[in-house]
Each structure stands twice: as structure tokens, then as C-alpha cells.
Symmetry: C2
Subunit: 219 residues, 2 copies
């Protein structure tokens, strides 16, 4: 599948681009600046030389031409960026992975966007698209390190059951990620906010945590 | 230690009472009605006959006499119940475990109390006490089943570091629970809200999930 990543030059976007390309997808990393996207993509190809990853660079409008679109911008740019390519996103699945967080002193605190979550804001910006929220808790750096698996559960929610199911299939292709159906887009609010707790644990314990649920062994 | 549980007749409170008594603490289960508390405690003694659990019954004012107090009421009674025994709670650690949730159709949704979390509301109700938030994600029924361990991480947050440390020690006595320092009471908001996601998974997958974090193996 061709997958475009809006705002794909940060750790989360480029990590996801790398991981998706590693399982055979054609990924387009988008950015406000196509030049910046080109630099990041060159860096990914250099790092993973010999792996033959299909990752191209474009501006966000170019990335929005893909079949499935990921919004990986910082949270305060998610609404604007999605809206700027609303026409191209119509009828497509749009995966939102941003979290609204702020660092206050040594503490990460969740912010509550006016619609409750970044994903709900994105859905409002592109009402003709099917927004799915996922991947908030997966550590970005680990996602981009193909030498190591990322053992993590991935909570997915959406108001569009078929789009959710398709994203669950996509994520399941990345071994060691276990997608879990967490309900409709209402749940993006607590899922996004919980990311602050994970970052807090990372600071406190000098590590990078991921979430695994017990009681789901046979899923 | 003597531990009083306000609103301790529900699944969470009675489960915690059982588990705390099983590791040697003297527990007082409180309720608005001492008679109701007596019935529940009789039931616990009958269920665990031969285990010699130290669990007594009282009204909430009686339970508030203990050294450490747990608020296990439904979330919408937590503020009022804590405030009603404010004098007795002064100078003590008060552990808040309630989550503000509502069931809408088949979906559990988190509610945001005016102060952001139930725990922050309780802290405001008893400003002379040291409120610690914990145990939101541990399945209540499993907590009360002494025949089986409850393998779960327990996120703990508080504005009072010493009270937090003391609660972490207390929880660590219950084998298979791993207490984790999640920062100050700000974090109670995302921790409480995330409980809705866990309940959602329980409904969707017909199970009872608990949270374990990867990346913390040597804690």
C-alpha cells in the first residue's frame, strides 16, 4: 500500500515510515518543506543501506496523494495540516498519532484540545475522511530502529469500523505490535492523555516504556 | 498498619480490604451504613474462612479513625465522603482509587471532574491530608481473589513525595503488584481517564485486562 505521512520528518513520523517500509509498503514522507523531507529521507536510506526501503520525500500535498494518510505533525499543527489537504484526503483513511502534551518543569502534562483529543480535531478538519487514532504509546525511537522489535500493544479507536479494521491489519504486519480495538473516537481523549504518564515514567526511570496488557493472551 | 476504607463495600473497596488483610494489615471496611459494612465483612470472612483475615466493619466515620485511609466510594461520592471526615483525616495519607466514568450505550467514557481528576477533588476536600492516587487500573474482582495473584503495574502519583513512597511500599507488599512512581497529582487526570479504555477492552475482548509496562524489567 502507498502510505503518505504528513509532518513525517519528526521522530514519530520517520520512525513509522521506516517500520512501514520494512514490511513492504511504499511510504512518502511529507513535510511543509519538500527539501527538509528530502534530507530526512536521505538520512533514513543512509542509515538502512542495503535494506531496500521504499521511502520517498515530498511536501505535505504530495504525501496526501497516497492511499492512506498518517498525520504525524506536532499536535498543534495537526488540525491545520489536515485541513490544508482536505480535498485530497476525502474518502481516505487518515491515521492520527499525535498527543497534545506540554512540559511544565520536569513534568509532562496532557492538554485537552477543544474537541477532547487531537484525533477528534483532525476528524472535524477532514469530515469526508475516516479518521483512526493509533500509535500514541509506541516509543518513536524504537519504532525507527529496525534492528530491534518494538514489543507493544497499540490501542486503536475510530468512529469508522472498517477503517479501524484495516488499520489493525496494517499494524499487525509489524511484528511484535499487537493492535487492540479500543472503541470509537471518544477513547482518543484518554489514550492521548495517557501518553503523558508514559513520558513521566521514562523520565523517572530513565527508560522508554511501552504498554502491554495482561489478560489478553489469546488475542 | 491499620487501614480504613471509606465506601469499602463495593468490589474495589472490598477487594482491596481482602488483599491488604491477606498480607497482615488490620482493615476497617467503612460504609454510610455500618450495618451494610457488617454484611459485606461477614461475607468476606465466610468466603476466606481459615485465612484469619483481620477485617472489621464500621460506618465511614469509624473507618476514618485508622492510620491510613482509602477512598473507595463511587467517584461522585468521593469528595463529599472525604469532606465529611476531614477532621479525622487531617495529617494522614488518603489514598484515592476512584475513576469518574459513565457508560454511554456500550461504551465507557471518562468524565472530567471540575478539578481534573477525582483525586484532585479529594485533595481539595481534605487539604490537611496527603492524597495519593493509585490502584485505578487493577481489576477489582481479581484484587479480591486471594487464590490468584494480580499481575499488574500500579501507577501512583501525589503532590506529597513521602506519602507516595509509603504507599508504594504498602502496595509492593502485595506480591505481583508493581508500584510505579508516575509523578505528581496532575497525572491522576490521565491515569483515571485511561480506566475507561481498560473497561472498553474488557467489553470488547470479554476479559479483564491489567496494565504492564515493558522497558522496566529491572525496577
Amino acid at each position: 500500500m502507498q502510505i503518505g505521512i504528513l509532518g513525517g520528518t519528526g521522530p514519530a513520523g520517520s520512525g513509522l515510515a521506516t517500520r512501514l517500509a520494512s514490511v513492504g509498503h511504499d511510504v512518502v514522507v511529507g513535510s511543509r518543506s519538500a527539501e527538509r523531507a528530502g534530507e530526512v529521507v536521505d538520512g533514513l536510506h543512509a542509515r538502512w543501506e542495503g535494506r531496500d526501503l521504499s521511502i520517498a520525500a515530498a511536501d505535505n500535498a504530495g504525501a496526501a496523494e497516497a492511499e492512506l494518510i498518517v498525520v504525524a505533525t506536532p499536535w498543534d499543527a495537526a488540525w491545520t495540516t489536515a485541513k490544508s489537504v482536505r480535498g485530497q484526503l476525502a474518502g481516505k483513511i487518515v491515521l492520527s498519532m499525535a498527543n497534545a502534551l506540554v512540559r511544565v518543569g520536569h513534568e509532562f502534562q496532557p492538554l485537552v484540545p477543544p474537541r477532547g483529543s487531537v484525533a477528534a480535531s483532525v476528524q472535524a478538519a477532514v469530515p469526508d475522511s475516516e479518521v483512526v487514532a493509533a500509535l500514541h504509546h509506541v516509543p518513536a525511537k524504537e519504532l525507527g530502529d529496525l534492528d530491534h522489535p518494538v514489543e507493544s500493544d497499540v490501542l486503536i479507536c475510530s468512529d469508522h469500523p472498517e477503517a479501524k479494521a484495516r488499520c489493525m491489519e496494517l499494524l499487525a504486519e509489524m511484528h511484535d505490535l499487537r493492535p487492540l480495538d479500543a472503541g470509537d473516537l471518544t477513547q482518543a481523549a484518554p489514550i492521548e492523555a495517557f501518553t503523558a504518564v508514559l513520558l513521566q515514567l521514562n523520565v523517572r526511570y530513565k527508560t522508554r516504556v511501552a504498554v502491554k496488557f495482561t489478560g489478553l493472551d489469546d488475542i
